[in-house]
Symmetry: C2
Subunit: 386 residues, 2 copies
């Protein structure tokens, strides 16, 4: 598929991010020199081991944990599965209970449903109209057999920041471990495992300009998990599989860059997102913001154009790469599980557009994107758009 012959505007950074050129440069020497098996005592193995530990420390520095509390995984989905399945004994699932929320990523919801099929109790907390979990609902849901509370730090669609700190305080008072899927938050806002008070935290490399295929899991000292991938004694016995120094370098360098850039990234992303929001609300009558206005990731704008289909809108803006919030087939609309949980009406949610800015964007692109979208929506409303 060739790139269209005019400049494109990538506004899908919550879907995935391109690899930062500095990250690629950091990986290159690892492929070439640290090619050994980190378990081997000879020099190529030791170089790989050293690279791995250097990078582990960088991930820990961004998150505020100790290097010994950071475990490399293949990505956010594996990290989430490791926590949920690692805390519930599947042979004795009915003695466990998991609390999560209706707006979690499928890599949390589906393992939770799987555990429920095995017999575990499961509470899926609702959210309000802005997509927020109520910490008091966590308090009410905790049972004697509750093994885990898992609530995401920031939602991928609305960007809504969940009250994880308060949830963690409540759960830990009752001795219940807390996990947060921070895949969308790390690199976009400051994330500190101690300030949050969580026991487990998921990082997905490809959401912060590292490659796909690498992630991390923070496991607080003193907490243990049954491995998801049993094997040799890699990653402190938590995760079998020969470790990739190159992928670790990708994630480590991405974390180092994120730490360095975070204050100015937050401001730059927010300025672009706010400008996009302002321009679209000024030019599109009846536009609806999905999710909260405050307490939201600085890069995320999730809006709905009632009565139109998001996919149809984007068909007419082929240089603009963004996401929708619903799938429309024939005359039926399937809202994303997030919009559905928020109680968004189908005629509103069908017109959802998720516009997520990132480091590669410029203010000029933002203004062009707003112009393209407003024109397209106008044309569809006038009946002149195909």
């Amino acid at each position: 598929m060739p790139e269209p012959p005019f400049p494109s505007i990538y506004l899908d950074h919550n879907g995935t991010t391109p690899v930062d050129p500095g990250v690629l440069s950091a990986m290159q020497p690892c492929f070439e020199e640290a090619y050994g098996n980190p378990s081997s005592p000879h020099p190529p193995g030791r170089r790989a081991r050293e690279a791995l530990e250097t990078q582990r420390a960088r991930v820990a520095r961004l998150l505020g944990g100790e290097p010994s509390e950071i475990f490399f995984t293949s990505g956010g989905s594996e990290s989430n599965n490791t926590v949920l399945k690692g805390l519930v004994n599947p042979a004795d699932a009915s003695r466990h209970h998991v609390i999560t929320s209706a707006i979690e990523h499928p890599a949390v919801l589906n393992p939770a449903l799987y555990l429920a099929e095995l017999g575990a109790g499961l509470t899926v907390l609702p959210v309000d109209g802005e997509g927020l979990v109520d910490p008091d609902a966590v308090r009410e849901a905790i049972e004697a057999r509750t093994s885990l509370v898992s609530v995401m730090l920031a939602n991928n669609e609305t960007g809504a920041l969940q009250p994880v700190r308060e949830i963690a305080r409540i759960a830990r008072e009752r001795g219940v471990p807390v996990h947060t899927d921070a895949a969308q938050a790390v690199g976009k806002i400051p994330v500190d495992v101690d300030a949050l008070g969580v026991d487990f935290l998921t990082v997905a490399g490809h959401k912060l300009y590292a490659p796909k295929g690498v992630g991390a899991l923070f496991v607080r000292k003193g907490r243990s998990l049954t491995p998801l991938i049993h094997g040799a004694a890699q990653e402190g016995g938590l995760r079998g599989g020969t470790e990739s120094a190159a992928l670790a370098a990708g994630l480590g360098e991405a974390c180092r860059i994120a730490e360095e850039r975070l204050p100015r990234d937050v401001e730059a992303l927010r300025a672009m997102r706010d400008r996009l929001q302002e321009l679209l609300f000024a030019s599109v009558d009846g536009l609806v913001l999905n999710g909260p206005r405050e307490g939201r990731l600085p890069n995320t704008l999730f809006v709905s154009v009632p009565g139109l289909e998001g996919g149809r809108i984007l068909e007419g803006t082929p240089t603009l790469y963004a996401s929708t919030g619903a799938a429309c087939h024939d005359r039926s609309v399937t809202l994303s599980h997030v919009l559905a949980a928020m109680g968004v009406p189908p005629e509103v949610g069908m017109g959802a557009l998720r516009l997520t800015v990132g480091r590669s964007n410029t203010m000029e692109q933002i203004e062009e994107a707003a112009r393209l979208l407003a024109e397209r929506i106008e044309a569809l409303r006038n009946g002149t758009g195909r």
Copy 2:
């Protein structure tokens, strides 16, 4: 850790392989252009999706399966765990039974032991003195509740090729699915899923000059598995997690190169391995070959110097990067589980050296390696080696 100031000889290709430069080149454009999320319908997403499917077909071509039967994973350990845990319902483990062998990789043995802890029946087949599984033992071990037979194709230490074809025939006659961990075989010998008659086959990228962090699992059409990583609908629902087009390109290109080179690689590896074997047996009195002489990976030489410690031998050959077969601490020797299963006496196994050649080696290196080892062993025997 700087490289020693003299040329090194890497004879640890069963431990891991360096990434082929052609593989790295194939990955580069994917990092830069196919950076999208393969689930996204916009051009960067579609480019990633297309790259993924192109590479899937290349893996299938090397193994003889259909592209729809190939699933990308993070590596051999994940592939193995996916099969073992995906076939046994952990809530009902006692209704299942798994047959495997004593010389499997820990990424098969440890999931099998985990399933046994959950209540599954487990038969760990012994091996003979050459490290070979007896197909008749599989026949005798099959019970009505047997859910899986998992026997590796080639052992990582001895290189012994297991009678997987015959085992598969026996198991399938009884309707029992068969898995083979082919991590060490793929790229070193021809591997064909139909000729073998297996239902599941594990590929580990980093054993065939692809990067660490990517592997594949062959799942024969009609067989299904409970996902190890539950999540969104990636990889046909078998494996959640945003797919990496770049890692897939690494594995796909490695498979393409392996297919192209296989006939001459087999001959070149065998010639180097045989020369190394010949030189060492000619110069080291009492040298013992661990494993079979015939029916062995063409690149693998696993020998023992009785009475000496493998680690002590390699300490004196710092330019030679190889593995041992035992860990010696104080006066105790812990043999590898493979040597132990073969019944190798500790005083023999403690002196085990695993010398595994690969594409990067030359015949000059082989002769130099033989000379270095013979000199070192001679010095240790004379008491002049430190």
